[in-house]
């Protein structure tokens, strides 16, 4: 019946109970919404990282990424076809994108500038790497002499689609090799660094320039990122001299640091929201308890222990927190799903040049975490509010006005 008493106590002062409920609901709703927002940003960030350049991960010769070689091409993979065939047989692998990357000089009528070239199977990559937003012209697909330029690079070269660009690269043997390409399109990914140095040509054209048939790395398109660990393990077993690296490690500076930064930001906001909720509940429950000192004295005089008094108050706090949290979660979900379902237009993030839309992305664990955090805050507030009155002597409680 103590539970019944706790429940009934919530209806003792409906206005105050309503105020606590609203405090908790707003707090929980805000936590949930912000979590959904951050999750949306992270998903957007992840999606962009995967579909702009890295894929879900890449395969390199073992140790290749950490080493600086005098002749890197000597360490490239010569068994590209065998590897490709194997990868397509692994569950979860949907796309295999062999690539080479190289440094080159790009020359237009106006200027010469250094760039970072990628030789790709353009037709195959066009669908997957769609985060390369083609601003002018068209995507590089099957055009054999086409070149796709990053926006910054195109600006520096002062070229537009249809213009010619001469690419000079150092071949496998150390000779300079030239190739003439026609600008098919100009892309931007949002990352100014990437857009300012990267260009893409067809893989065979790049291999011709470099005088090699090897590939430097393979980017992978998977069914989902959950497939990555199994794919990496499978590859390591079949090709021990190769290593598979996921996109978040490949793009640690940008992606992983952004994730960490956003999560840290979320943690700070979380603490602030929870502190407000905690203080709000503490204040309300404290006043409620102060009004009931004599009743609590009566309970103690009739055999209730201090722990039982605290349990009763904690139950009240827990009940109201549970109901308030559910209201908050439901309210936030309803508002965001029905009124902000198109997402929010956000200004460019750190290191980015374009605006992006963030949709609130909710997952079940977030419901549980928001609920648990709000209830924890309510229980902590109830604990501190009840602690003093439970320690009060029975006589003092009974004498209280």
């Amino acid at each position: 019946m103590w539970f019944w008493l706790s429940l009934k106590n919530l209806f003792r002062n409906p206005r105050r109970t309503f105020a606590i409920l609203i405090t908790i609901a707003i707090g929980t709703g805000a936590l949930f919404a912000f979590d959904g927002f951050i999750n949306g940003v992270l998903k957007e960030l992840k999606y962009d990282t995967i579909h702009s350049n890295y894929g879900y991960g890449q395969i390199h010769p073992l140790g290749y990424r950490e080493m600086v070689y005098e002749k890197p091409m000597d360490h490239w993979m010569g068994n590209g076809e065998e590897l490709e065939a194997y990868l397509y047989s692994v569950a979860g692998v949907e796309n295999v994108f062999p690539r080479v990357s190289f440094s080159a000089l790009l020359k237009s009528n106006h200027t010469t500038i250094g760039g970072s070239g990628q030789g790709v199977h353009a037709e195959r990559e066009a669908e997957f790497f769609h985060s390369l937003n083609v601003e002018e012209g068209e995507m590089l697909r099957s055009q054999p002499s086409g070149i796709l330029l990053g926006k910054g690079l195109a600006n520096a070269l002062q070229v537009k689609p249809g213009d010619s660009v001469k690419v000079t690269a150092t071949s496998n043997k150390g000779y300079l090799k030239n190739g003439n390409f026609i600008v098919t399109g100009i892309f931007h990914t949002g990352s100014s660094d990437f857009d300012g140095r990267v260009f893409r040509i067809q893989l065979p054209e790049a291999q011709k320039l470099l005088k090699t048939s090897k590939i430097e790395h393979v980017s992978l398109g998977l069914r989902s990122d959950a497939d990555w660990p199994a794919v990496a393990t499978s590859l390591h077993t079949a090709f021990p001299h190769l290593e598979a690296t996921p996109f978040d490690v490949l793009d640690k500076i940008y992606y992983q640091n952004s994730v960490n930064w956003l999560k840290a930001q979320f943690a700070v906001v979380q603490v602030i929201i929870l502190s407000i909720v905690l203080l709000g509940i503490f204040n309300s429950i404290s006043s409620s308890i102060l009004e009931r000192k004599q009743e609590i004295g009566n309970l103690r005089a009739n055999g209730e222990s201090r722990v039982e008094i605290m349990r009763m108050i904690l139950t009240e706090g827990g009940l109201i927190a549970f109901v308030g949290s559910l209201l908050g979660l439901l309210g936030a979900y309803t508002i965001l799903t029905f009124f902000v379902h198109n997402g929010l237009m956000m200004p460019p993030g750190p290191g980015q040049t374009k605006e992006f839309v963030v949709t609130f992305s909710f997952e079940w664990p977030m419901v549980l975490v928001s609920l648990a955090l709000s209830m924890l805050a309510a229980l902590i507030a109830s604990y501190f509010a009840s602690f003093k009155v439970a320690r009060l002597s029975i006589a003092s409680a009974l004498r209280a006005l």
């Binding site: 209806f11 005089a301 055999g303 002597s393």
Partner: protein, 251 residues
């Protein structure tokens, strides 16, 4: 009275305390209690020796500040024993753990407060049931005791009413029913009739007298001669001492 004290002391020496404790509900030896006031201590009970047998109706009278409520609180295990000894059914209260004291309060002591202290959010019936469920009684027993107690105080028809819907006299009768339903060894009341008119006050006292006739004990503080007239004995306090001084045995 002095002869009785001497007799009891002899009994303690000859037969041991446990033999004697079967008939003694409370026994006090050199009981003192003081309240802290800044750096000073204000003595409320200045050394009391008494015994209260079972099945007695005791009233405690005296002017304001004489220590009536403090004594009642000590008997109800509401205040801790600071100095001296106080026994309840042979068990020294000062040596009881907090858990034991809670058990005694839950099962053996019933309280009636001047301000009733009913739960405003519970009905009359629920106010009684609450402490019975805390005694972990079966549901049927809880229902039966609640009905019996409310019928005894004449409020069965009002069982669904909340305290705010009851008069002062009715509230006090609910408080009495609550104490009676616990079936404690002793009911302790701090001026339970103070906020009632003469008629309601007398009604309350008759209910308590009936409780004593069932073999239980009632101890009340009062200023009212009508209440004192119901008592088997009266303990008059002055300045934290029993009037007349020395050892007193109420038997």
């Amino acid at each position: 009275m002095l002869f009785n004290t001497a007799y009891i002391i002899i009994c303690i020496n000859l037969f041991g305390f446990s033999l004697l404790s079967e008939k003694i509900l409370y026994k006090s030896i050199g009981l003192k209690f003081s309240y802290p006031l800044e750096k000073e201590k204000v003595a409320a009970i200045q050394g009391m020796d008494f015994e209260i047998p079972e099945k007695s109706f005791v009233t405690i009278s005296g002017p304001s500040g004489s220590g009536k409520s403090t004594l009642l609180n000590l008997l109800g295990l509401i205040e801790p024993v600071q100095e001296g000894k106080l026994f309840l059914l042979g068990q020294e209260i000062g040596r009881m753990s907090e858990k034991e004291k809670n058990r005694v309060r839950r099962y053996q002591v019933g309280f009636i407060f001047q301000q009733f202290h009913l739960f405003p959010i519970l009905t009359a019936e629920e106010n009684i049931q609450y402490f019975l469920t805390r005694q972990t009684l079966p549901k049927q027993e809880v229902a039966a005791r609640t009905k019996e107690a409310l019928e005894l105080v004449g409020l069965w028809e009002h069982r669904k009413k909340r305290p705010s819907e009851l008069s002062g006299g009715q509230k006090q009768r609910v408080a009495i029913a609550r104490a009676l339903a616990k079936q404690p060894e002793v009911i302790i009341g701090d001026e339970p009739t103070a906020s009632l008119d003469q008629k309601n006050g007398k009604g309350v006292m008759e209910i308590l007298k009936e409780f004593v006739e069932r073999g239980k004990t009632v101890i009340l503080t009062t200023h009212d001669s009508m209440v004192q007239s119901f008592g088997d004995m009266n303990l008059h306090l002055v300045d934290g001492r029993i009037e007349g001084g020395g050892n007193v045995v109420l038997a």
